[in-house]
């Protein structure tokens, strides 16, 4: 038989029907998995390359990108703690309408699954622009059930659901020394179907796209599980089932809801949550019940907003002269980096005392920096925002006495929410266009003068969700208005300095990774190869954006000013503000070691 057995299904060649014992093809190179492992389809490398090229051409022709979703905490939250979740279902019948009960036969477990609010709109929003996949560190059965829940008509994810088995199989075939027996250990544990918290499983796009350019963005609640230099859009993890197992993010992530929220914020009335029902405690902070209401309310938006960010990335990607998926990471990084550029932030009562020493690697700080905000000391003349969680700290009093200062803020601030309501495709498309235009306008900066903003931590979180500068008003500490005068137009301060942006991005990733405890000695050689692979990328970017940088030289004055490093800060000299800045520096309130006051 002269069949080359290019396509093998199970143990059968799909062309000639012969039984092929081992999957390696005649040429000795291993067969590639063409679909998720559960479908048992393998193709030879040449066939895989052909197919990849065809898909690539299709994507480029119709201006689409691949999109890879994580499931747990990104699109859904699930629990096997039935008793607790039933209590939640009794207490909140409205929120739990779409909670589904699954039975996993392989593990003999039941679990409740709650899809993240807004997932329908989100998927509708993205179908036209993205070719969607699911990649989750859970079991196949679970992943398939959830995919069916998210996409009951089986239009989006059929044959595109990749799971733990896929990646472990992939690792085995590549001769990795990852422990093969870890699976059985985990499934014996009582939370077996949700393997998201496994540190040792590193996700990589090769699993889904074994050959060629992946052309893909990832949406995940954890950047750290992905191989370095994967374009991951991090999204605030979704937690629905309170008090059940696995309802807190791990230590390397931001846990917003452990912080108090004062009832005096106008945020409450903005969201129409009555604050008079419950008696606040002496610190004026919301009770757990109210906090939960707020949590539920705020949960409705991050998913859709991440969808909008994806659309923006897509827009920018296809406005480039030539497409390569290596561009996706800097585009995403740049978009996020321009979100809070011009904000100089100090924290009060947010970072625990034990973390004060290595503040740079604290997850919140690292994320804030990734979004373009600078972290400064409270007495810095550049300070524009004091991020606090509870009223009456010493830092807050100190900031209240500070003089007005120049800031570079966006021309139009984003509202607290950009509502995109469910409807037919056309109405959603129209709404999306409107919101996207607004988001793009938010990147234009102007110089304003005003007092330091004392904003609640939630403001920062909202900014990160929206990848843009959100209006501070609902988050302001005191009722007093913060009049902000416009002093002049700043040229488009969108960051075109790709190298610096990328460097900063990598730095923040590195710091975040350094903070994590490595569970076991990660294979050293892979670490090495990754480090090497960064260099060609840098040079590549330099080449690609050389012309862009030259053209933007003229308007780079103010951006470079905003970018002033901490060294420049110390000297108190600022090109634009000149004398006045140093004068102001003298008026500075003397710095007091008040960290201990902020914490309790």
């Amino acid at each position: 038989m002269d069949c080359t057995h290019d396509v093998v299904f199970g143990s059968l060649c799909a062309i000639c029907g012969a039984i092929v014992q081992d999957t390696p093809s005649n040429s000795g190179t291993p067969m590639q998995r063409a679909t998720p492992q559960s479908l048992k389809l393998f193709v030879s490398p040449t066939e895989a390359t052909n197919q990849h090229q065809e898909l690539q051409q299709h994507l480029e022709r119709s201006k689409m990108l691949n999109l890879v979703f994580d499931l747990d905490h990104t699109l859904i939250h699930s629990t096997n703690d039935l008793a607790n979740s039933q209590v939640i279902q009794r207490n909140e019948p409205n929120e739990t309408k779409d909670v589904k009960l699954f039975t996993l036969k392989t593990l003999r477990q039941h679990c409740y699954v709650k899809p993240r609010p807004g997932y329908r709109i989100y998927l509708k929003l993205l179908t036209k622009t993205f070719n969607m996949y699911i990649f989750t560190a859970s079991l196949q059965e679970y992943a398939d059930e959830v995919a069916l829940l998210l996409d009951p008509e089986q239009k989006l994810f059929t044959g595109k659901v990749y799971c733990y088995e896929d990646s472990s199989d992939h690792l085995e075939r590549r001769g990795s020394n990852k422990p093969a027996g870890s699976m059985s250990n985990q499934s014996a544990s009582n939370f077996g179907f949700n393997l998201a918290s496994r540190r040792h499983l590193q996700k990589q796009l090769d699993v889904i796209f074994p050959v060629g350019d992946p052309f893909a963005i990832v949406v995940d609640d954890r950047r750290s599980v992905w191989k370095r230099n994967t374009p991951v859009l991090e999204i605030l993890p979704f937690f629905f089932f309170y008090g059940c197992q696995d309802c807190r993010p791990p230590s390397d992530m931001i846990d917003v809801w452990k912080y108090p929220v004062p009832v005096t914020l106008s945020l409450w009335s903005h969201l129409q949550i009555p604050t008079t029902d419950e008696k606040p405690d002496e610190t004026n902070c919301a009770s757990p019940a109210m906090l939960r209401k707020l949590h539920r309310k705020l949960d409705e938006y991050p998913l859709i907003e991440s969808g909008l960010t994806l659309l923006r990335v897509h827009q920018r990607f296809y406005s480039q002269p030539n497409f390569s998926s290596e561009l996706l990471l800097p585009i995403l990084a740049n978009l996020q980096f321009s979100a809070l550029r011009g904000a100089f932030i100090a924290f009060s009562g947010v970072i625990p005392l034990t973390e004060q020493k290595n503040i740079e690697s604290y997850p919140l700080v690292a994320s804030a920096r990734r979004f373009g905000a600078e972290i400064v000391e409270v007495d810095s003349p550049k300070l524009t925002h004091l991020v606090y969680v509870r009223e009456g700290t010493e830092k807050e009093r100190k900031v209240a006495g500070l003089p007005e200062r120049q800031m570079i803020r966006p021309k139009s601030l984003l509202p607290l929410f950009d509502p995109i309501v469910d409807g037919d495709e056309r109405s959603i498309a129209a709404q999306t266009r409107r919101v996207l235009a607004q988001l793009e306008k938010g990147t234009e900066r102007q110089v304003t003068v005003g007092k330091v903003f004392c904003v609640h931590l939630l403001w920062l979180i909202r900014c990160m969700d929206q990848s843009g500068w959100v209006d501070e008003t609902p988050f302001l500490l005191t009722e007093t208005e913060h009049p902000v005068r416009v002093e002049g137009d700043s040229p488009n301060a969108e960051d075109r300095n790709w190298e610096e942006c990328l460097a900063r991005f990598k730095e923040s990733v590195r710091l975040a990774e350094a903070a994590q405890v490595e569970p076991e000695e990660q294979n050293e050689d892979s670490e090495h190869s990754e480090r090497n692979s960064e260099d060609p990328m840098d040079s590549f970017l330099k080449n690609v954006f050389m012309n862009v940088e030259e053209s933007s030289d003229s308007d780079s004055e103010i951006p470079s000013d905003v970018e002033a490093t901490s060294d420049e800060e110390e000297s108190g000299e600022c090109q634009r503000c000149g004398e006045s800045d140093s004068d102001r520096g003298e008026k500075r309130v003397r710095r007091v070691q008040d960290d201990s006051d902020d914490q309790d």
Partner: protein
């Protein structure tokens, strides 16, 4: 193709369930044990018609289980190479079609689909479509010829082709059962 076939099986009944209605017990246990499994040589067991003979049981030392040797008539399903079957499409991918004939999962490589069907990635769901707009998508009923079968422990898998005259999509109004063409 379907068969009636006498098969043999040792059925073990744990001592606590022994009682007056032993034949029913054995029948139930046999059903649980063999129904919907693949017996390597004969194919997939769809149903058990009756128990032909039931030997006297003996007690297995150690466990105390009563063991009965049962000969039963089963209805079996086994696809053969060259057989023409009607299948239902379950998944369409770029590599080809996945479909099922009852318990058997089949795959049609893209080369085995007539060239008039072009892959349309941009459709939701992605599907194979002719220029006239006839779609091959999940749920479509198709008539195909089996190219190869493998009976493994747990599953029947097969590969098939649609690239022949008289094979293709079955329209609803024509769906009156299998009609063999003259080559068979």
């Amino acid at each position: 193709m379907y068969f009636l076939k006498d098969l043999e099986k040792l059925v073990e009944i744990p001592p606590e369930s022994l009682g007056p209605n032993i034949e029913q017990l054995v029948f139930d246990k046999l059903k649980r044990d063999v129904l919907f499994t693949v017996s390597g040589r004969y194919g997939y067991i769809i149903a058990i018609r009756r128990i032909q003979t039931l030997t006297e049981g003996y007690i297995r030392p150690g466990t105390g289980n009563a063991v009965f040797k049962v000969v039963y008539t089963a209805i079996l399903f086994k696809p053969f190479r060259g057989e023409v079957v009607d299948a239902q499409v379950t998944t369409t991918t770029m590599n080809g079609l996945f479909c099922s004939v009852g318990p058997c999962s089949l795959f049609l490589a893209r080369k085995m689909i007539p060239p008039s069907f072009q892959w349309h990635q941009e459709e939701t769901p992605s599907c194979y479509m002719t220029s006239e707009g006839t779609r091959l998508q999940s749920g479509s009923k198709i008539r195909i010829r089996i190219l190869g079968v493998s009976c493994e422990q747990s599953a029947l898998t097969a590969v098939a082709s649609m690239n022949e005259p008289f094979l293709g999509i079955i329209k609803e109004e024509e769906d009156t059962g299998l009609i063999f063409d003259e080559n068979d």
